[in-house]
Amino acid sequence: MNRILEKVIHQNGTIVDRILSEHTIGYVVSDNTANAVAETSFDNTSAQAILKHLHGLLVSTCQSVVRDIDPSNKLCFMRLGTRKFEYLVAPEEYFTITVVQ
């Protein structure tokens, strides 16, 4: 699975660089099947916290909400604005990507 991730990152190198060069504090990429951190710039504790709360709990809740409102609809992207930073979450089929800025 991590081989797929490396391939995707390599193919979208310019996009990854652009995302990371702006006012970005860090990012977490997690594997959906294993519920594990695939790649991150945070330390392990912060990455695990984001994985458990954001990817595990909130993404599934948001997906359920969107599906309940319209069964043909699908969650594509999510932005959580807080007082200190903003979490940008992109749930994909195999990975969930979070950027904190």
């Binding site: 809740t61 948001c62 319209d70 969650l75």
Partner: protein, 97 residues
């Protein structure tokens, strides 16, 4: 209070692409809406639960942090949730990307 809500409604309604606005009180009861009633109740129940969950989660991640806004981009439309002290404002829009 009511005049404040009217001002909010007018301000957000003027934006292009906005297809619906709902304003809830802290108990997730719709106060004002520009959408159909059944759809309003549906949104109110689901989005309010999501908002409370998200607020609690943000506090869990960082105790001194606080939820300000949620944006859910879906295939069809975009839902923007603005929780504040006295109401929750839900705006549904169709971004033309």
């Amino acid at each position: 209070m009511s005049a404040e809500i009217e001002d909010l409604l007018k301000r957000y309604q003027n934006y292009p692409n906005v297809s619906g606005i709902i304003i809830l009180d802290p108990f997730a009861i719709p106060i004002k809406t520009t959408m159909e009633y059944t759809l309003t109740v549906h949104y109110a129940a689901l989005i309010s639960t999501l908002t409370y969950k998200a607020a609690k989660m943000i506090t869990n991640l960082d105790a001194s942090n606080e939820l300000v806004t949620i944006r859910l981009r879906t295939k069809v439309h975009e839902v923007i949730v603005l929780p504040s002290e006295n109401y929750i404002i839900i705006v549904v829009q169709n971004p033309g990307t």
